[in-house]
């Protein structure tokens, strides 16, 4: 299958403190790829470097065989969209206005009837008609995430990057957001790469998983290849058991206990033993 996104030897540092080092990977068209890793491992920075929100010091990022550095910011925005974790909420934009912002790469000062038509299509698609004219600032976290995904959708790009779209959401809204992304991917509308924390959500929805630790990719493959007790112990410092779900289709991660190893996580003084019921 065609390669949608190709990253080679990507390096980034904040004030000479290295955050990403030598990241190399390819993403196939039409896949849903999740980026996993503990807090501070560089997931968000990675997505921002891919989208040139941050400028990497070394390495290359290609989308459809075109180096992103050769594209203007506007041209890049026509090919790649980005859903942030959250949005600055100082001024009272309506949901309609926030989604219309996604048309920015395609239009100049004014928006045509056609642009507004696309916004209404997305509002319809995501079921946002009840809140379309409400202030974005007054929405719940789940509704805001859907509006931000809507903004990325009207951008009409084939690659969508999502930075922890389910953080701070309850289970229902997590499922809702993940199902929307899955639907979009399965209907061939987008290729998606998202940074996520929830291992079981990732296992349930992703075609492939990138596992990161301290700015490096330590594992890349399908959920069964990546979500192994060894990888999770190495990255998170947590002992887990992996079970089969849905007849071996989906791995289920059951956390058991924190480990005393060289992982970046602090270890509590007394680890409570956990009994696993088989």
């Amino acid at each position: 299958m065609k390669i949608k996104l190709s990253v080679k030897e990507l390096e980034f540092a904040y004030d000479s403190v290295p955050v990403l080092s030598g990241l190399t990977m390819d993403i196939r068209e039409g896949s849903l790829v999740s980026v996993l890793g503990p807090n501070g491992c560089g997931k968000s920075t990675f997505l921002k470097c891919v989208n040139r929100i941050l400028q990497p010091q070394n390495g290359s990022v290609k989308i459809d065989d075109t180096c992103t550095g050769d594209l203007s910011r506007r041209e890049l925005a026509k090919r790649m969209s980005y859903v942030p974790q959250s949005s600055v909420r100082v001024f009272p934009h309506t949901v309609f206005d926030v989604i219309l912002m996604g048309r920015r790469p395609h239009l100049s000062w004014t928006s045509s009837g056609e642009d507004e038509e696309r916004v209404w299509d997305v509002i319809d698609l995501l079921g946002l008609e009840e809140i379309a004219l409400s202030s974005f600032n007054e929405l719940s976290g789940g509704q805001q995430q859907k509006a931000l995904i809507g903004r990325a959708l009207v951008q009409e790009t084939k690659l969508m990057l999502l930075d922890e779209p389910t953080s701070n959401l309850d289970l229902w809204h997590k499922m809702d957001v993940m199902r929307i992304v899955e639907d979009l991917v399965s209907h061939g509308k987008i290729t998606a790469m998202m940074a996520v924390h929830d291992l079981n959500m990732v296992a349930r929805f992703s075609h492939e998983i990138i596992m990161m630790k301290k700015g490096q990719i330590i594992s890349f493959g399908n959920p069964w290849e990546v979500l192994t007790p060894e990888n999770i112990a190495s990255v998170y410092g947590v002992e887990v058991e992996i079970r089969d779900l849905n007849g071996g289709d989906i791995p289920l991660v059951v956390p058991l206990r924190q480990m005393k190893d060289d992982c970046c996580m602090p270890v509590p003084p007394d680890t409570i033993p956990v009994t696993v019921v088989h």
Partner: protein, 373 residues
């Protein structure tokens, strides 16, 4: 886009029909609200136009509203209207320039405040809080007390005020250009600059004699009396260039208010837009301040009021802030000129005395939704 998601069951079809109906209702409501925003703007412009006539009628000379407009139209279309010589002198040469100056200044403060709040993502930003007015005041103090000025003659104070206002602006813009300078950094730097130049002005005041002190104090209170017809050409040219330049970035400003990362991901070079709009708005403010003195409140409050009424889309918010700024300033000036006539209270004092209670009422009354909703 939604065709692939068409429902198949009867229940789903019914649900789909209900949603379609709701969507149509929302679309109609959206169109109606857009229309109301434009009507509101047109209403404010009309209010200014009519208000100018009423303001001119206030004063020692007894002149009616219709005589005012007859005099104004006679100047433009002399063949259709008659003009009394005394009325011409009072209306055209004395009262109207002050009001037109107020319209220019209020409009400029309003749009610059709006732009600064957007690029700095902070509702506290204004030409006053960023120290631009304080810099101009120090320039005036320096010229008044020590005679240190870039040029002499009639424009001694104005040139100095402009120079130091621009110096403050350039300092803020240079900070904005620094990698990693956040919006909060710029606001704090502006407040620091404000304190620095206020302190320096007080130092000047300490050494000033009575006449110098009076000049400094009067300038610091803000006044519209410096305007005359021969200055409007300069104003008109500067506004005709700066306003479209700022308006051209309105859509980018919308994106920047939701965060630089989002703006960049949508194709906007946020750093460049911030530099550009800060440069233009600082230049515009410096031009106004050097003629009016310190009128601090309009640039802060006009964008807030406009946002409460018509929302946060900068394509309509920028002109709305300007028009509301103009209305606020000429209204405050009319009160300042007549409340204890024949004594004229400086405009800057009256904008604060009238505007602050009204603004506090607006923000404290707890109405969270926008007026137009």
């Amino acid at each position: 886009m939604s065709s692939e998601y068409e429902p198949v069951s009867e229940h789903a079809k019914k649900h789909r029909t209900e949603r379609k109906k709701k969507l149509e209702e929302v679309q109609k409501e959206h169109k109606r609200l857009q229309g109301r925003k434009v009507t509101f703007l047109a209403g404010i412009v009309g209010a200014i136009f009519i208000g100018i006539g009423f303001i001119i009628t206030i004063g020692p000379l007894d002149i009616s509203f219709f005589q005012v407009y007859e005099t104004l139209f006679a100047k433009v279309i002399p063949s259709f209207f008659n003009m009394d010589g005394m009325y011409e002198q009072i209306v055209w040469n004395i009262r109207l320039p002050r009001i037109i100056g107020g319209v220019f200044a209020g409009f400029g403060f309003g749009i610059c405040g709006c732009v600064m709040q957007a690029v700095l993502k902070n509702p506290l930003a204004s030409p006053f809080t960023l120290g631009i007015s304080a810099g101009a005041h120090f320039g005036v103090a320096l010229a008044a007390v020590f005679g240190v000025a870039v040029i002499g003659g009639a424009y001694l104070l104005i040139a100095n005020a402009f120079l130091f206002a621009m110096l403050c602006s350039l300092f803020i813009v240079a900070l904005a250009a620094l990698k990693g300078a956040t919006s909060e950094t710029l606001i704090l730097a502006g407040i620091a600059v404000n304190y620095l130049f206020s302190g320096l002005s007080q130092l000047m005041a300490y050494f000033a004699n009575d006449e110098q002190l009076r000049l400094m104090t009067t300038w610091g209170m803000g006044d519209l009396s410096a305007f005359s017809w021969n200055k409007f050409l300069l104003f008109f040219v500067i506004f005709a260039i700066c306003t479209p330049l700022l308006m051209s970035k309105a859509r980018d400003l919308n994106l920047m208010t939701i965060g630089d990362d989002s703006a960049k991901s949508l194709g906007v070079d946020a750093d460049r837009v911030r530099m550009f709009t800060m440069m233009i708005s600082s230049f515009l403010v410096a031009t106004i301040v050097c003629f009016t003195g310190t009128i601090g409140f309009i640039g802060l409050v006009a964008p807030h009021m406009a946002r409460m009424i018509i929302g946060a889309d900068h394509r309509i918010l920028i002109p709305a802030s300007g028009i509301l700024g103009a209305l606020l300033l000429i209204a405050a000036d009319a009160v300042a000129m007549n409340i204890i006539g024949p004594v004229v209270i400086p405009t800057g004092i009256m904008t604060a005395l009238l505007g602050v209670p009204f603004f506090l009422y607006l923000i404290l009354k707890g109405k969270r939704k926008e007026f137009w909703q």
